[in-house]
Subunit: 228 residues, 2 copies
DNA sequence: CGCTGTGAAAACCTTCACAGCC
DNA sequence: GGCTGTGAAGGTTTTCACAGCG
């Protein structure tokens, strides 16, 4: 067990401004909205109704308006939303005003895929370091970066100012690596490991488990067509 | 717009047995439970209480018991759950009694990572085909499979009996490719594209958007340490 | 008139607490 | 005594429906 629960140094602040206390379900949808607005902007749309944005984002219009209302009043009644203004507004809420720095740990197939992934730069993130434990990989050049040894994670994080770590390491060592990046000062972790990780309360963790996603698909399939 | 919403051919069946009508939130957690039980079994544990399983799965004991109760009564009061029996039970609910066949479309970095991913076989899935549109990739051998042209998706799905497609294709063509795999007869789609896809109601879609996950991390970071 | 912003209602999900069984 | 299975309570999320503004 690594992450100690503190309870004292992160007090609840009931006086926080509205714009920083959104329901979790709303936060999960903000990236969708930002993406929908980007699509609309590319199509040359400058003003869009909640119905139009919701259509592209794949949600209901009422849901979109309710979610946006937590960020304040940014639409014009009888007209809709200004696409550019609302984009800036969402980017601000997501803290994307300056590019966040990311390190990727585990330069196997998945790590390489992530290192070359255009979605980082397009969406407000910069890969600033790659780390691995395999001596055959350390020192090689991948996607424009020289891979560092994972033991140097503290130095790399300190030198680059990275605040987010993406873990693409084998399940067996994922907790150990997670502890190391957290000790190095990272504030957010995105893990692709199936095991569920423990982090201190002040660190944010999200997990993508591809096997679990497939099993959920299998469930729905099975529900409709049970095998003989 | 491709996937037409039907609304008539998939009537609600209120007479379905309990075991097949679980709350969606419960279904999303079943893979976690199955994984936790596998971990316990590897440790030689044969019987475990709801608290023990919940601890490994990272949920509350009450949540676990409530979720399992939808599958029927499988524990023994005063004792706990038989790990092996509960594993079989969950695997059955998830339709993993026989291995599900999967095709991967898009053999770039991510597709290769997925093709070599051990998590498939370990968790009830078999990769039966790889497809790509790039003539330089078609015909090459990746992870033991010869890559087929994506235009042959219908033949490949028919020949292999694949029921699930994993899409690791560029965002711009993701809807088009999705339509093709659905037309080929696939019943479940796992997409790694940022765009939200449209599928017919009888097809199940799940999306993993790495960029969105990072933006959600950025939000929480920003909430605690707003930039100057 | 059209569309946003938002209370109020409905649906859903989680947690509690305890009866019931081993 | 210990632990499961579950109704009931409490909380969150979604949907509705309409007041209010442009």
């Amino acid at each position: 067990m690594s992450g100690a629960v503190d309870g004292g140094s992160v007090p609840v602040r009931p006086d926080e401004p509205r714009s920083r206390r959104l329901p979790p379900a709303t936060v999960d949808r903000l990236p969708r909205y930002l993406r929908a607005l980007t699509v609309l902007a590319e199509q040359g749309v400058t003003t869009a109704s909640s119905a139009a944005v919701a259509e592209v984002a794949g949600v209901g219009p009422a849901q979109l308006r309710k979610d946006l209302s937590f960020l304040g009043s940014h639409g014009r009644r009888g007209v809709g939303y200004d696409v550019a203004h609302l984009s800036r507004c969402l980017a601000g809420a997501l803290g994307l005003t300056s590019s966040r720095r990311v390190v990727i740990v585990g330069i196997g197939h998945l790590g390489r895929a992530l290192a070359g992934f255009r979605g980082f730069d397009d969406r407000g993130f910069t890969v600033v370091g790659l780390l691995d434990a395999d001596p055959g990989v350390v020192g090689t050049r991948v996607a424009g970066h020289v891979v560092e040894h994972v033991d140097r994670v503290a130095e790399v994080v300190a030198a680059t100012g990275a605040t987010i770590a993406v873990l693409a390491v084998p399940t067996g060592v994922s907790q150990e690596v997670c502890d190391a990046v957290v000790a190095a000062g990272v504030r957010g972790v995105l893990s692709f490991s199936a095991r569920d990780l423990t982090v201190p309360t002040e660190v944010d963790l999200r997990t993508v488990d591809v096997g679990a996603e497939l099993q959920i698909l299998a469930f729905h399939e099975n529900r409709r067509q049970p095998p003989p």
